[in-house]
C-alpha cells in the first residue's frame, strides 16, 4: 500500500474516478496544464486529456452553473473552487439550483456533482484564502457537505461523494494537505457519507471536530490525559447529514461534550451539534456543552490567523471549563 499525503490521496481519488467512470469530468481554474494551484490535479490532464480535465475561464458562477447542466445531462462533474473563500460568486448556482434541482423537478432531474474546495487558514496566504464557510452550505437543504481530516478518508469520501446521487461539497483542509502520510489503498474504496469516526476513545468528554481541527484536538486530548481526563475525539467527517446517532451515543457515554471548529462561533456548525445533543442526550449531560471556535470576526490577514483559529491551548481551556463545571 502506498503512503500518501492528503492531497496525493485526493489526486489518487480523482484518477480512480476518471479511470472508472467515463462520465466524470474535472474542471476549474488552473486545474489542467498547471495541475491545480495546490497540485491536486497534477498529471491528470496528461493522463486523461484536455477534454476530461479542463481549464475553464475565471468564472466561479459559470463553473458551478455549467456543472449543474452537465449533471442534469448525465455527466458526473467534479468542479474545483480554487479556494473556499472564492466560492461566493457561485452561491447562487449552489443554493438556488444545485441544491434544488431534484425537488424542483420532482425527482425527474438530479444533480450529482462534487464541488471540491480547499478551506481553512494556516498557510500564510492572502485574504479570502483562509475562510471556513461550511455552515453556509450545511444550512442549505439539498446539498451534502463532507470534510476529510486524513489521506485515507480523503480518497474514500471523495469516491463516495462522486458516487452519491446528490450534490456534495467536498471541503479540503489545505493546511494539512502535506502534513502527514497514511496508508492509502491503490484500489477503489469508499468511506460512507454520514458516518463519524472515533479517532481516540475516551470516557470523560466527547470532543467533536473535523478537517483542519482534528490534529490540534488530538494534541489537546493528549494534554488533557496528563491531567487525568480521558477525552474521546470524534472526527465527524460528514457535516451534512450529521451522524446523529454517533454523536448522541458518545455523549450518552461520556456525559460531557465539546465542539471545535475553525469557523466563527455564532451560528456555526457547533450550534447545530449542540442542539442535536440537547435533543438526543440532554439528560445524560453533567456539564453545559462547550464550543471552541474561531472568533466572531472576519478571517484576518495571516499575521493574526494563528490567533483566530483554535489551537491546542484554547481547546485545552475549553476542556477545562467543561470538566471543571
Amino acid at each position: 500500500m502506498a503512503k500518501l499525503n492528503l492531497i496525493q490521496a485526493i489526486t489518487d481519488g480523482l484518477r480512480t474516478a476518471l479511470r472508472d467512470d467515463p462520465r466524470v469530468l474535472v474542471f476549474g481554474e488552473d486545474v489542467g496544464v498547471n495541475g491545480g494551484v495546490f497540485r491536486a490535479t497534477d498529471g491528470l490532464q496528461e493522463e486523461f486529456g484536455a477534454v476530461r480535465v479542463v481549464d475553464t475561464p475565471l468564472a466561479e458562477s459559470a463553473i458551478i452553473g455549467a456543472a449543474v447542466g452537465l449533471a442534469v445531462s448525465g455527466m458526473r462533474p467534479v468542479p474545483e473552487m480554487q479556494f473556499a473563500g472564492f466560492i461566493y460568486p457561485a452561491m447562487e448556482q449552489i443554493v438556488s439550483h444545485a441544491a434544488r434541482v431534484r425537488m424542483r423537478s420532482q425527482g425527474r432531474f438530479s444533480c450529482p456533482m462534487v464541488i471540491r474546495a480547499p478551506y481553512g487558514g494556516g498557510i500564510r496566504a492572502p485574504e479570502l484564502h483562509g475562510d471556513s464557510p461550511e455552515a453556509f452550505f450545511v444550512h442549505q437543504p439539498g446539498i451534502k457537505v463532507v470534510c476529510p481530516s486524513n489521506p485515507y478518508d480523503a480518497k474514500g469520501l471523495l469516491l463516495a461523494a462522486i458516487e452519491d446521487p446528490d450534490p456534495v461539497l467536498f471541503l479540503e483542509p489545505m493546511r494539512i494537505y502535506r502534513a502527514f502520510r497514511d496508508e492509502v489503498p491503490a484500489e477503489r474504496y469508499t468511506v460512507e457519507i454520514g458516518k463519524s469516526r472515533t479517532v481516540r476513545a475516551g470516557k470523560d468528554l466527547s470532543l467533536f471536530a473535523w478537517g483542519t481541527m482534528l490534529r490540534v484536538s488530538l494534541e489537546a486530548a493528549a494534554q488533557a490525559a496528563e491531567r487525568g481526563w480521558d477525552v474521546e475525539v470524534i472526527d465527524l467527517r460528514t457535516l451534512n447529514p450529521l451522524d446523529r446517532e454517533g454523536i448522541a451515543a458518545s455523549v450518552r457515554r461520556t456525559g460531557r461534550a465539546l465542539i471545535v471548529h475553525e469557523a466563527p462561533k455564532t451560528a456555526g456548525l457547533g450550534a447545530e451539534i449542540l442542539s442535536l445533543i440537547n435533543e438526543e442526550a440532554l439528560l445524560y449531560l453533567e456539564a453545559p456543552v462547550g464550543r471552541v471556535c474561531g472568533y466572531d470576526v472576519p478571517q484576518p490577514l495571516f499575521a493574526l490567523e494563528d490567533l483566530h483559529a483554535p489551537d491546542a491551548k484554547r481547546i485545552m481551556h475549553g476542556i477545562e471549563k467543561v470538566m471543571n463545571f
Partner: protein, 358 residues
C-alpha cells in the same frame, strides 16, 4: 480607437519616441523615475518573500508602464479600486511603501491608506471591486463632484459576472468611471486564448454601449494619453471607458506559483525586449533629457526609498492582538468583548508587550 493585435505589436516594436505626448520633459523624467522605483520595489518584495520576510506576494514586473502611465493621468481626488497587483499605481497615487510591505506581511496595518489617499483596500476576489468603482462614480455624479473612479482589473476578470454587471451598469447610468484592464496574457496559468473567444478585450465594451480602447501597455506615454482622454471624458460627464492595456508579467502570478509549468522562457524573454522601462528610457535619451548619471541616480534613490520602507516594516513590533477584533463593528458587541477578553487571557496583548522581533 480600437487596435487589433497586429497594431499593438507594430506599435510595440517602435522605439517609443513617436506618438503624441502631453507630458513635459520633466514629467516624463519623473514618470520614468517612478517606474524605476516600482520595479525596484517589486524585485525587493520578491526577494523578501523568498527569504521568508514577506508572505505570498503578487509581482508586477513588466507592468510598470501600464500602472505608472495610468497613475500619472489621474488626480489626487480620483478614487481607485485596485486588485492585489496594483502596487505601482497605488504607490504613485500616494500609498506609503511601508504600508504595501505590511499588507504582504499579513498585517492589518497594511490595509490603511492614509486620509487623503483615495484608494480603496485591495479586493482579492476577482472583478468584485468593479461594481464598487461604479457606485463611487455614481456618488461623485450625485454630489456634483468632478472626481472619477477607476476600477482596475486583469484579463481573467473579464470572465467574471461582476465585470459584465459593472460595465453594463456604468453604461446605462453614464457614470464617470474608467475600467482599467491590464491584459498581461495570463490568469495564473490560463492564457487569454482559453479565457475569451473574442479577439480583443476592448471590443467587449461595445456590448455595453461604452467605448473600448486598446493601448500598448508597455508604452507608458501611450497609456498616459489613453487614460488622460478617458479620465477627461468621464470628468466631463460623457460616460465610462474600458481601457485595455496590453502588457505582460515577467514573473509568476504570485510567489506561490511556478510559471515555468505553463509558459516557456522564450515568451518571457521576447516580452522583456519590449520592456516599458527600456522604451521610456530610449525616449528620454532621444529627447536629450537623460544620462547615465541620472540613470544611476534613479536606481540609487529607488534603493534608498525601498530600503527605508523595509526597515520601517522590520521595526514594527509584533502585531497587537486586539487588532483581530478592532473594526469588526463600529462598536464591539458584548459577545465580541467577551471573546476579546478570552483571547487576551490566553494569548496576551501582543504588540510591544510581546517584545520586539529579533
Amino acid at each position: 480607437m480600437k487596435l487589433k493585435e497586429g497594431d499593438v505589436m507594430e506599435q510595440t516594436q517602435r522605439s517609443g519616441t513617436e506618438g503624441s505626448c502631453s507630458l513635459t520633459d520633466g514629467q516624463l523624467v519623473e514618470m520614468y523615475r517612478q517606474m524605476v522605483l516600482v520595479r525596484h520595489f517589486d524585485r525587493r518584495a520578491v526577494h523578501l518573500q523568498r527569504s521568508g520576510r514577506l508572505g505570498t506576494y503578487a509581482p508586477l514586473e513588466g507592468q510598470e508602464a501600464a500602472q505608472v502611465g495610468c497613475a500619472f493621468a489621474l488626480e489626487k481626488k480620483d478614487w481607485l479600486f485596485p486588485t492585489y497587483r496594483e502596487h505601482g499605481v497605488s504607490l504613485v497615487h500616494g500609498l506609503p511603501m511601508k504600508t504595501v510591505f505590511l499588507y504582504w506581511n499579513g498585517r492589518p496595518e497594511g490595509c490603511i491608506a492614509p486620509e487623503g489617499v483615495n484608494l480603496f483596500p485591495i479586493a482579492v476576489p476577482i472583478a468584485t471591486q468593479l461594481p464598487h468603482a461604479v457606485g463611487a462614480a455614481w456618488a461623485a455624479k450625485l454630489r456634483g463632484e468632478d472626481s472619477i473612479a477607476v476600477g482596475f482589473l486583469g484579463d481573467g476578470a473579464t470572465s467574471e459576472g461582476d465585470f459584465h454587471e459593472a460595465m453594463n451598469f456604468a453604461g446605462v447610468m453614464k457614470l464617470p468611471v474608467v475600467f482599467f484592464c491590464q491584459n498581461n496574457g495570463y490568469a495564473i496559468s490560463v492564457p487569454l486564448s482559453k479565457q475569451t473567444a473574442s479577439e480583443t478585450l476592448a471590443e467587449k465594451a461595445a456590448g455595453y454601449g461604452i467605448e473600448g480602447v486598446r493601448v500598448d501597455g508597455n508604452d507608458a506615454v501611450a497609456v498616459h494619453e489613453a487614460m488622460s482622454r478617458a479620465a477627461a471624458k468621464a470628468r466631463a460627464g460623457l460616460g465610462p471607458t474600458f481601457l485595455e492595456a496590453v502588457t505582460y508579467r515577467y514573473g509568476p502570478h504570485t510567489t506561490a506559483d511556478d510559471h515555468t509549468r505553463y509558459r516557456d522562457e522564450g515568451e518571457v524573454e521576447a516580452w522583456r525586449g519590449k520592456d516599458g522601462l527600456l522604451r521610456l528610457k530610449e525616449r528620454l535619451l532621444a529627447l536629450g533629457v537623460w544620462s547615465d548619471e541620472q540613470e544611476e541616480d534613479a536606481w540609487r534613490e529607488a534603493d534608498r526609498v525601498v530600503q527605508t520602507a523595509i526597515e520601517e516594516m522590520a521595526a514594527m513590533p509584533p502585531v497587537d492582538h486586539d487588532r483581530l477584533f478592532d473594526h469588526s463593528y463600529a462598536e464591539l458587541p458584548p459577545h465580541l468583548r467577551e471573546q476579546r477578553e478570552e483571547m487576551r487571557s490566553l494569548y496576551g496583548r501582543g504588540g510591544e508587550e510581546a517584545g520586539w522581533r529579533s
